[in-house]
């Protein structure tokens, strides 16, 4: 069974602006490597836009994991593209926690499958193990590598899918996981932030 994000919502969501999204603290900064192979920081990339930050790795095969995030965010991108008043105030950052495999070149190729040229969607990773650990810890994103019976890394990882909605002041305003992540929900929440 696929996650709810792959189909229409089973309920009528609350209208944008009719509810609050209380701040959940400052979104952490972190040193990153962009898909242009440039060193930067999360805060620099976020800039002054509303940011949807997801943690992914490009070889993820769990249909209800990273592919779900890509599917849902692609939907949000489509919904915002024709609304410049929203499009120009939002960006996505997809952060790979597998820098060993997800080099800037790989990320650029992967991102190209999803990113519309008219939308700000950055695919980034960490340049060092310490930077990666610091960022994952700051966002409470636990990741487990999968090993076989002999202790050999199987090339896959287990993680709880987390997607963060971050406002223009870099405060976390919502966190989505598999059963909660949906295009309509994120679009509504973005509109709610824009109505703050």
């Amino acid at each position: 069974m696929l996650a709810p994000g792959y189909s229409a919502l089973e309920f009528v969501p609350p209208a944008a602006g009719s509810y609050g999204l209380p701040p959940m603290g400052l979104a952490a900064d972190g040193r990153i490597l962009t898909d242009q192979n440039k060193r930067s920081t999360l805060h620099d990339v976020m800039g002054d836009r509303i940011t949807v930050l997801s943690f992914i790795f490009t070889t993820c095969t769990d249909v209800n994991g990273c592919p779900l995030a890509a599917y849902v965010l692609s939907g949000v991108q489509r919904a915002l593209l024709d609304r410049p008043e929203m499009r120009d105030r939002v960006r996505f950052i997809s952060f790979s926690f597998d820098p060993e495999n997800d080099s800037p070149k790989v990320l650029k190729e992967y991102g190209g499958k999803f990113r519309d040229p008219n939308f700000h969607w950055d695919f980034v990773t960490a340049a060092t193990d310490i930077d990666l650990a610091t960022t994952l810890d700051a966002y409470g994103q636990s990741v487990l590598r999968d090993y076989d019976g002999e202790g050999n890394y199987m090339g896959s990882m287990s993680h709880i899918l987390r997607v963060f909605l971050i406002d223009e002041q870099k405060k976390i305003r919502n966190i989505y996981s598999t059963s909660f992540l949906h295009t309509d929900t994120i679009v509504n929440d973005v509109r709610t932030l824009l109505m703050d």
Binding site: E100, L136, I160, S177, F180
Partner: protein, 453 residues
């Protein structure tokens, strides 16, 4: 490693898949799940004066039959003093266990992931009342994505039953609070019956319906009162909750207040992908209530079964729904019995089993496959029965096997004889949740984050 294969971590996605097995059936649907055999049960335990160190504590019992320590207490963390330890819950990633207290309002956050066999106290929230604007008696600690929802039982103005809910980040930082709707302030909710009492107790979510339900018990004045005195005080006995509130889960706004007279306590929602209903039981009227979404999409409530003889005040407490939504375990504290109801037709539950478990009984937790059923005994410090020192079966943690027809006792730990206290809520733990394996530690595959490689 075979066990690691058996006990793979099933993320939330696999809950959506309704896979064949995971752990206890009453947890948040947002939570990571254990597949297969749990390794530990963490028992949030009230300190008892004169028993051991007398402090509230988190007790870890090894429950894996393959372990050399099976059926024994392998660890205990005391938190200092007695705080009316009550319920506990895990964060959505199961890295931390939040243990709440009804008297001092402290919330103790334990790290259960660094070493699942030896939880450590990670952080203590000791300003809950001030942060939440006066909510007293933190009760249910329930995982939402990246945050914890905490229901209250009371307030700091009159210590009655009007209360609210609070949200904290998984890291323990306060986010917001909301008060239960009352006649004075319905907050846009529809009062569908006679009550809008503003009381609180448990909370459960049905994310795919965008629904959160809350139930209602009683305030600090009552739950801290001696039970005999309370039962003899007609005025105090009027101050119990009579409502279940249906909330817009995403907006956290109340939509409808449903009359459920007699203190509806634990809420348990069905797991089926088309099963839009939940159960609760009423402590004072001894009934099973069904909360359900009707064909018009409206949430309703109705009493669907009696639990024992209400005139004898059996006092239903914890309930546990099976993973296939076909059975409901119902504990009744006063007579120490567990009853099993067939809820295949949720509108017409039928009792199919009954057994005495102890002198009193409170919590029940079952494995996802339903083959293991755990029980503990303690309700509230001033309500619990006495007599443990006389050899009575009052304060215990018991594991039974369930074969579909009978319960078979696997082990029984007397928490008073062991100098621990009064055992309350149970939560399951497993090495595999954290990519770890049990001993020998030197040879296990402790899976690291990519960062640690």
């Amino acid at each position: 490693m075979i066990r690691q294969v058996m006990i793979a971590v099933a993320l939330l996605a696999s809950m959506l898949l309704q896979t064949s097995s995971a752990d206890e059936t009453c947890m948040s649907p947002y939570m990571a799940k254990i597949v297969g055999q749990e390794d530990f049960v963490y028992i949030w335990t009230l300190g008892l004066e004169g028993v051991g160190d007398g402090q509230d504590k988190l007790v870890t019992v090894d429950v894996n039959p393959d372990s050399a320590d099976y059926g024994t207490v392998v660890h205990s963390v005391s938190v200092g003093g007695r705080n009316e330890a009550h319920h506990s819950g895990l964060t959505d990633d199961r890295r931390f266990l939040w243990a709440a207290t009804l008297d001092t309002n402290k919330i103790f956050i334990f790290d259960v992931h660094t070493d699942p066999a030896k939880p450590v106290l990670h952080k203590t929230i000791d300003d809950f009342v001030a942060k939440t604007g006066g909510i007293v008696g933190p009760h249910t600690t329930y995982a939402l994505p990246g945050r914890m929802l905490i229901t209250g039982l009371s307030n700091n103005r009159d210590h009655g039953g009007r209360t609210g809910m609070a949200e904290y980040t998984n890291g323990g930082e306060f986010i917001t609070s909301v008060w239960m709707p009352t006649d004075d302030n319905l907050q846009g909710a529809v009062k569908s019956g006679n009550y809008a009492d503003g009381y609180g107790y448990d909370a459960r979510a049905l994310p795919r319906r965008n629904v959160l339900l809350t139930s209602s018990f009683t305030g600090w004045n009552n739950y801290m009162m001696n039970l005999g005195k309370l039962l003899g005080d007609p005025e105090a006995m009027q101050r119990f909750g009579n409502t279940v509130v249906v909330w817009d889960l995403h907006a956290r706004t109340p939509k409808k207040i449903i009359d459920v007279p007699g203190a509806p306590l634990e809420l348990r929602c069905a797991w089926g992908s088309q099963s839009n209903y939940c159960f609760t039981t009423t402590a004072l009227t001894s009934k099973i209530w069904l909360l359900y979404e009707d064909d018009a999409g409206e949430w309703q409530g109705k009493a669907v079964a009696d639990i024992g003889d209400a005139s004898k005040i059996p006092l239903p407490v914890d309930i546990s729904i099976s993973a296939d939504d076909k059975h409901l375990w119902v504990n009744t504290w006063n007579d120490g019995k567990v009853r099993l109801f067939d809820i295949s037709d949720p509108h017409n539950p039928e009792q199919v089993f009954e057994e005495q478990i102890g002198e009193q009984i409170n919590m029940v937790s079952q494995s996802w496959d339903g083959e293991r059923v755990y029980f503990t005994s303690s309700l509230l410090a001033n309500w619990d029965k006495t007599g443990s020192s006389d050899g009575k079966d009052v304060q215990y943690f018991k594991l039974f096997g369930w074969d579909g027809e009978k319960l078979t006792l696997d082990f029984n730990l007397d928490f008073v004889q062991m100098g621990l206290g009064s055992p309350h809520q149970m939560r399951f733990g497993a090495y595999a949740l954290y990519g770890q394996a049990p001993t020998p530690r030197a040879e296990n595959t402790i899976l690291k984050t990519a960062a640690a490689e």
